[in-house]
Amino acid sequence: MFGKRILAFLAVVIVTFGVIVGTSPWLLQGVKLGLDLKGGFEVLYQAKPFEGGSEVTPESLSETAKGLLKRIDDKGLVEPEITPEGKDRIRVKLPGVDSEDDEIIKLLSQPINLTFRAPDGTIKLNGTDFVENGAGLAFDELNRPIVTLKLKSAEKFGKVTTELVGQPMSIYLDETLISSPMVNQPINSDSAIIEMGNASVEEARDLRDKINMGSLPLRLEMLYTNSVGAKLGMESLKDTVTAGIIGSVIVLAFMIAIFRIPGLVASITIITYAWLLVLVQNLMNATLTLPGIAAFVLGVGMAVDANIITAERIKEEIRSGKSMLSSLKSGSKNSFRTIMDANITSIIAAAVLYFIGDGAIKGFALTMIFSILVSIATNIFFARFLMTLLVRSNRFMKPSFYGVKESEIREL
């Protein structure tokens, strides 16, 4: 004869595991693997100078490569591999992309040159006069989208606009005219705007991205594209994941052996945590790479740690002679503070890494932030909920259920 609370506990666990088992195949298929694990698509570019722009030097090549890296980083969670090669080549490898028609390739392979021209067609300003990735999106007083630009030199812009007072200045992307605003007075500032009339926000955003594309120091021409194989490959990934699972199973067995009931609850919440983290990563369209695996291992470690801290606390409280329920309450309360402090500190560190780092560091930091948030939800709140159900069922009242010996308990 089960109590109501035991039934509730079983129901929650069965439903949770049902969902996990039911969705796992679909979930694992949805994991996007990174370059090192699965290969991807590579594009080899040849860099050429813009008309009137900077020459191709090792520096400008490296700058261009960095600009590309930043742009792809801004696009999301793809960790590209970008290497300048030879005198004028840049190789871009993109994970999870498998054809030339992919959005990112399209974006990359259409380097766009932004020019401001006088009415007679002479180029007054070109891509190199604008701050790289400096275009932004804003709204005018009529709430219409406009694109803002940052110039490197206010002086130069002032000079150009002085020349063109009373005439239109035409803004071109490649050979397409976007707008021809009238220059009413000299503009001595380092910011310009492009009015788009009644364009949609979507179009404005697209233009902003295109302009940011075009403000690279060098023009890129695609030499060839190619799908590449993985460096590590699926076999090694399988081995690694299998190893990780074996390790995790040992850890869960260890938890149950040492902590009994809290250990069992921990096993349930840690499995839920791992599942939820994969789900979140998938929803965010993140690619899994080695650094991601490292963050995952760390996440599991911290998730286990949260459970251990709580279980140890509960043991201490039981030893001090309190009842099970009040041991659970005060143990949870005390451990909550510790765990939150540790987690918030880690989130701060990860956030800094995310904003400073690029490529692999960004990916690592993001996985770490997700994993901490998911861990708080599962290993603190879900675990506490399950523990409370079990303790309140009045069936697990012996200290031995919590890894405490009778002899260790002191009188209050």
Binding site: G244, V297, S320, I361
Partner: protein, 307 residues
């Protein structure tokens, strides 16, 4: 003072041994970095990249064998293209003209004459920059951590934690330098993981010290040392269990995972163990030293809080 835990070993009293050991390791690491630097892997070195159009489908296995015969073992060519007829090989050194033609000859001998190759020097700029960025990121992240710990705890905890986590990150780098292990991009992730684990570990023990301080009436240095020792031993079970669990997972990956990530899991392992060690033997005694200085000052009588 009655802490309901047995102090089995006087960590604080024996602190100098551990300080000396860690200082020696740090010093050895610095020396090793100055003299031998790091054994940089292909990601961080200038090398050559050979793009080969094969004219027919090939397998990675075949190409690897040919390269090994030509005197380039341990390379990992990637095979791609529309029908596996393009190969890209990254050489760890910049190839001379004759070396290039040697590889070309070897490939032609095996796959026929329909081969054209293009060789380019690969610049390690971006990867190196990532390495430098990582160092900055770690330093700035540790500042952020310091500020938070200062607000939530006190500056002494912040300083002790910060010294320890930077030390842990450095230990990984130092040991890789001393033992000439190859450093590649995943290594960066391992160092970052060390940082993450190490902070988490320090906060747990400092939280316990803070809690014990609340109820403590400290009158002497020996009582302070007893409090730190008690905090260490109260959290010892958790410290050992936690490091054991992460070590189990990492050792499994090290032993059973693919060979290509052995070094990566080794770096992780070093970082995790160092993190657990420094929590007990470096961070806690360091805090004790900082706190002791305060204790030595004559205490002013606490102003009554209610008028």
């Amino acid at each position: 003072m009655n802490y309901n835990t047995k102090i089995r070993y006087d960590v604080v009293g024996n602190r100098n041994k551990y300080f000396i050991f860690s200082l020696a390791l740090t010093f050895a690491g610095i020396l090793s970095l100055i003299i031998m630097q790091l054994n940089l892997g292909v990601d961080f070195k200038a090398g050559s990249n050979m793009d080969i159009s094969m004219g027919k489908p090939v397998t990675k296995q075949e190409v690897t064998e040919v390269l090994a015969e030509a005197g380039y073992p341990d390379l990992s060519p990637t095979v791609g293209g529309a029908n596996n007829d393009r190969v890209s090989v990254r050489f760890t050194d910049v190839l001379e003209q004759e070396e290039t033609s040697k590889v070309n000859q070897a490939l032609k001998a095996k796959f026929g004459d329909d081969i054209s190759a293009e060789v380019n020097v690969v610049s390690p700029d971006i990867a190196r920059e990532l390495g430098i960025k990582t160092i900055w990121a770690i330093l700035i992240a540790s500042l952020g951590i310091m500020i938070y710990v200062m607000i939530r705890f006190e500056w002494r905890f912040a300083l002790a934690a910060n010294i320890s986590i930077l030390y842990d990150s450095f230990v990984v780098v130092a040991l890789f330098s001393i033992f000439r292990l190859e450093v590649d991009l995943p290594f960066i992730a391992a160092v970052l993981t060390t940082l993450g684990y190490s902070i988490n570990d320090k906060i747990v023990i400092f939280d316990r010290i803070r809690e014990n301080m609340r109820f403590a009436q400290l009158k002497s240095e020996s009582q302070l040392s007893e409090l730190v020792n008690a905090s260490i031993w109260q959290t010892m079970a958790r410290n050992l269990y936690t490091v054991l669990t992460v070590v189990i997972v990492t050792v499994c990956i090290f032993l059973l995972g693919s060979p290509s990530i052995k070094l990566f899991s080794l770096a992780l392992l070093i970082g995790l163990i160092s993190g657990a060690y420094s929590t007990i033997f470096i961070a806690s005694p360091l805090w004790f030293l900082l706190k002791r200085k305060e204790k030595k000052k004559p205490k002013q009588a606490a102003a009554p809080s209610t008028p």
